[in-house]
């Protein structure tokens, strides 16, 4: 519970109706999409504008009350679980699209806007915002920026980071900072924009962002290739890239994933295949046509069992949306689904998937793998049951091995979901002790009282994996 004084001050800022702390409110803001994590906040607050945010943060800084900014809580790293209590901050009132600038090709938004709503709004003007996380129907731009989310179009178009060109944020002391702008070039000092992207709510609260847009590609074509093994599919990926073709989407599903997605979406995926590649190219018609033809040839040269080119945009859309639902569809198999996003250089995909299979066998756990083949971002997904503590222990060990393996191959522990609490024990594996210290120094400089989303990114207890902990 907040102490009376703090409560009074906060209420004065936002009004009684925007400070919630009933039993029910605390429960529903105690979790995010990360399995097996839950912790109650002391209260939930809904600022109406950036001035509210600044005032709230000042109070929190003075009284050392943790602040956990929360978008739609779809993150998969326990990023919005208020492990140390405090205030959960919502952006329900801050979801406006402030401006779509058709001359500078930018869009300026408040953090609470739903990703897909914004994408639709810019597409109405013939503009394109490429980062498309599977969760875009409900994720917010604030969340996307803070996790530096990726999507199916990442290979060709990059991730959220590549589109954020200006940010306004509230520092933990309540001051408001503006970075970047509608500028293609800007080297005035340190690149705070980049620093804020992927900062997981630990450095400040984003109150506005300006994003870069590009023209909508003229056409798009989708195709599906089937393989009897993932290695064969991996060969295709390598060959496509070494042929200097960069498809918009290059996704793979392994056999168990195919089965589950088909059960869910019923679109006639061949459930007996060992692996599937979903390939998409967009751009001017002749380029798309040429690339798709060439890629179809490459698929065949690399022993695809069959290659099918979608005959209509609807058919193509059905295939991509099935891929989007992969994670959630896997969740049908078992009560608990733990999804990781270890990432390796793309040339190592097949090798990594094979390693994952061996690790799953070694620990006797069930792991399905799908992901972004084009950018080496794998989603090994483990189906388990949180009530089975023995199995959860083995799952933890398996993922630990997977992280170690990924790093051995020159990869990383997380490609797009962020560190949060889930991966904080492994951060030093990737960036080294000195790297963690450098990050800690930045955190300390921004947030000396450690009020911003405390307990995230930096582990109390490095290396020991925390998936089992409540």
């Amino acid at each position: 519970m907040l102490n009376k004084e703090v409560r009074g001050k906060l209420e004065k800022i936002v009004g009684r109706e925007n400070l919630l702390d009933s039993q029910q409110d605390l429960i529903v803001y105690s979790y995010d999409a990360t399995p097996d994590y839950q912790a109650l906040p002391d209260a939930v607050i809904k600022p109406r504008h950036k001035e509210d945010v600044a005032e709230i943060v000042k109070v929190c800084n003075e009284y050392k009350v943790p602040v956990v900014p929360r978008g739609s809580a779809t993150n998969l790293c326990a990023g919005t679980t208020p492990l140390e209590g405090g205030l959960v901050m919502l952006f329900n009132y801050m979801k406006d699209i402030i401006e779509i600038d058709e001359e500078n090709l930018t869009v300026t938004v408040q953090p609470g806007v739903i990703t897909l709503d914004m994408i639709k709004a810019v597409e109405e003007k013939g503009l394109f915002y490429p980062p498309d996380p599977s969760s875009m129907k409900i994720s917010t731009i604030g969340g996307n920026i803070n996790e530096c989310s990726g999507g199916l179009r990442g290979l060709k178009y990059g991730v959220t980071r590549d589109y954020v060109i200006g940010i306004e944020f509230v520092m933990p002391d309540g001051s408001i900072v503006k970075t970047g702008g509608k500028l293609a070039k800007d080297v005035a000092g340190y690149d705070l924009t980049r620093l804020m992207v992927g900062s997981e709510g630990t450095l400040g609260i984003i109150t506005e962002a300006t994003l870069k847009l590009i023209p909508v590609p003229e056409t798009k074509k989708t195709m599906l290739a089937l393989y009897d093994s993932l290695e064969a599919a991996g060969n295709t990926v390598s060959k496509i890239i070494s042929n200097r073709i960069i498809p918009a989407t290059l996704e793979f599903l392994d056999q168990p994933t195919i089965q589950v997605v088909e059960d869910f979406a019923n679109i006639g995926l061949p459930t007996e295949a060992g692996a599937i590649l979903l390939i998409e190219q967009d751009g001017p018609e002749e380029v798309v046509e040429r690339d798709i033809q060439r890629m179809a040839e490459i698929c065949e040269e690399t022993n695809a069992l069959s290659v099918q080119i979608a005959q209509s945009p609807e058919e193509g859309e059905a295939l991509t949306s099935a891929r989007r639902s992969a994670l959630s569809a896997l969740a049908r198999l078992k009560p608990t689904t733990i999804l990781e996003d270890a990432t390796v250089p793309r040339s190592k995909i097949a090798e990594m998937v094979k390693a994952i299979e061996e690790i799953a066998d070694k620990y006797n756990v069930k792991i399905c793998t799908f992901g972004h083949a084009g950018d080496g971002n794998l989603h090994p997904t483990c189906m388990t049951d949180a009530r089975n503590r023995d199995e959860m222990q083995r799952v933890e060990q398996a993922f630990e091995d997977i992280f170690a393996k990924a790093i051995d191959m020159g990869g990383t522990i997380t490609g797009e979901h962020g560190v949060g609490v889930m991966k904080s024990p492994y951060l030093s594996w990737k960036v080294g002790e000195a790297g963690v210290e450098a990050m800690r120094a930045i955190k300390q400089a921004f947030d000396p009282n450690n009020i911003m989303n405390p307990g995230k990114v930096f582990a109390k207890d490095a290396r020991k994996r925390v998936v089992v902990q409540r």
Partner: protein, 448 residues
């Protein structure tokens, strides 16, 4: 908190622990994919507690002993429309509707109603709906009062106390009740017009066969025109949907058994329903009776045969339909769409009517706010949703709003009434419009 109150809460927690399906609660991976399709989440401006993910978390918290089943909790479950739009959106296949029903059933059993509410509940749930003949008697009463211009019934049963303002709009939009005599002579068997294409049984429904009797007549007319041979088992009863959704599950089960028995004999392939709300429960009789070994398989055999009227008409084919030129829009019945998964057939049928310009409205798949007794109990939210809905209707410039469920029909009529659009807009049940179009089509043919 009084001793009695705390006793009740302890009992609720125990019931939650013993009765709620914990696997199903865990099956929710909290991905949030269902949030954008939930009307109460949207109307509350994104209140997580009013979302499917939030409600599941609340139910789970009660089971886990992390939360008391307090008033907020009960209110939150009451605010849920039970529209189940969250189910098709859920990639994890969480059966939210079942969780909700179970939770409501527990709360209902432990509920202390004020005397008048109790009386009305008992009167309607135990005395009226389960008995088709009483339904008719009640209707005779209503018919009598309506004819003599006095709406005493509502007052006599204290209905107005819970129904308030909304009830008077509702009274305005109720159809003219058929005379008791007409209601007595319902058909048992209808021959196909030509060579028999399908053999079906018709589930007539309690409200549909009384208050909305003309719609049932139109249904039988259409089935005949589509060359279906129809039997109408006479021992059938109310489907039990209102009971099941209001925490009166035991009565719902009894009704289900009677219906299963009524439809067990006879030569037909489908059981046809013309009300999304009824149909959705009929297809889930197997779930309703899952704990009763003797009934489970019989229920499954029944449920497997259930089909909405629009599916069979689309499948069997109707004669050429025509209407005066008009813009038509369609409001999905939540349960028809989200539980029976019928959404394309009604639209295709409407689009095939000559003279009709079909305009899809924005968010046609979202609840209209009727939701069984919801518009009586949760008036404020219901009307907020309805106003939102009417704004979308108006954008289509439709003269005719088509629905596929009696509750939705009344709600849309109330919407037309609220907007003061009675002269330029009408709300109809899809079979009434189709029957009108078939008849019109025949006339045109004769002229030609």
């Amino acid at each position: 908190m009084s001793v009695e109150d705390s006793k009740r809460k302890t009992q609720i927690v125990q019931d939650f622990q013993s009765k709620m399906d914990y696997d199903e609660l865990l099956n929710c991976m909290r991905c949030g994919f269902c949030l954008p399709s939930c009307p109460t989440y949207i109307e509350t401006g994104g209140d997580e507690a009013a979302s499917p993910r939030g409600r599941i978390a609340l139910m789970k918290a009660v089971v886990d002993g992390k939360m008391e089943p307090d008033k907020d909790f009960e209110d939150q479950l009451s605010l849920c429309l039970g529209c189940r739009a969250c189910e098709p959106a859920c990639p994890s296949g969480v059966k939210y509707g079942h969780l909700l029903e179970e939770a409501r059933d527990i709360l209902q059993a432990k509920k202390k109603h004020s005397l008048p509410v109790k009386f009305v509940r008992r009167f309607f749930f135990d005395q009226v709906f389960p008995h088709q003949n009483r339904m008719r008697t009640l209707n005779s009463l209503m018919w009598f009062y309506q004819k003599s211009g006095v709406q005493k019934l509502a007052r006599a049963t204290n209905m107005t106390r819970i129904a308030g303002k909304n009830m008077s709009t509702m009274e305005k939009v109720l159809p003219a009740i058929p005379s008791p005599l007409k209601m007595k002579n319902r058909p048992e068997h209808i021959e196909a017009e030509g060579a028999v294409k399908k053999k079906v049984a018709f589930f007539s429904g309690c409200l549909m066969d009384t208050v909305f009797m003309e719609t049932n007549d139109a249904t039988l007319y259409l089935l005949k025109k589509a060359n279906c041979e129809v039997v109408i088992p006479q021992t059938q009863n109310c489907c039990g949907a209102l009971h099941a959704h209001s925490g009166e599950k035991d009565t719902a089960k009894e009704l289900a058994k009677k219906n299963i028995e009524a439809f067990e004999e006879g030569d037909f392939d489908y059981i046809i329903s013309n009300a999304g709300g009824c149909g959705a429960l009929l297809v889930e009789y197997d779930y309703l009776l899952k704990e009763e070994p003797v009934w489970k398989d019989r229920a499954k055999a029944f449920s497997d045969k259930v089909m909405d009227i629009t599916e069979i008409l689309y499948d069997a084919g109707l004669p050429e339909m025509e209407l005066d030129p008009q813009v038509v829009t369609y409001q999905d019945s939540c349960h028809l769409r989200n539980v029976m998964r019928t959404a394309a057939a009604p639209r295709k049928l409407l689009q095939s009517i000559k003279g009709v310009t079909y305009m899809e409205m924005k968010e046609a798949d979202q609840c209209c706010g009727s939701a069984g007794t919801y518009n009586i109990i949760e008036q404020e939210m219901s009307m907020q949703i309805l106003d939102h809905k009417m704004a979308n209707v108006e954008k289509t410039e439709a003269a005719t709003i088509v629905t596929a469920n009696p509750g939705c029909l009344l709600q849309m009529k109330a919407g037309v009434e609220r907007e003061g659009k009675r002269d330029s807009m009408r709300a109809v049940h899809i079979v009434d419009l189709l029957a009108e179009a078939v008849k019109y089509g025949e006339k045109s043919l004769q002229k030609a």
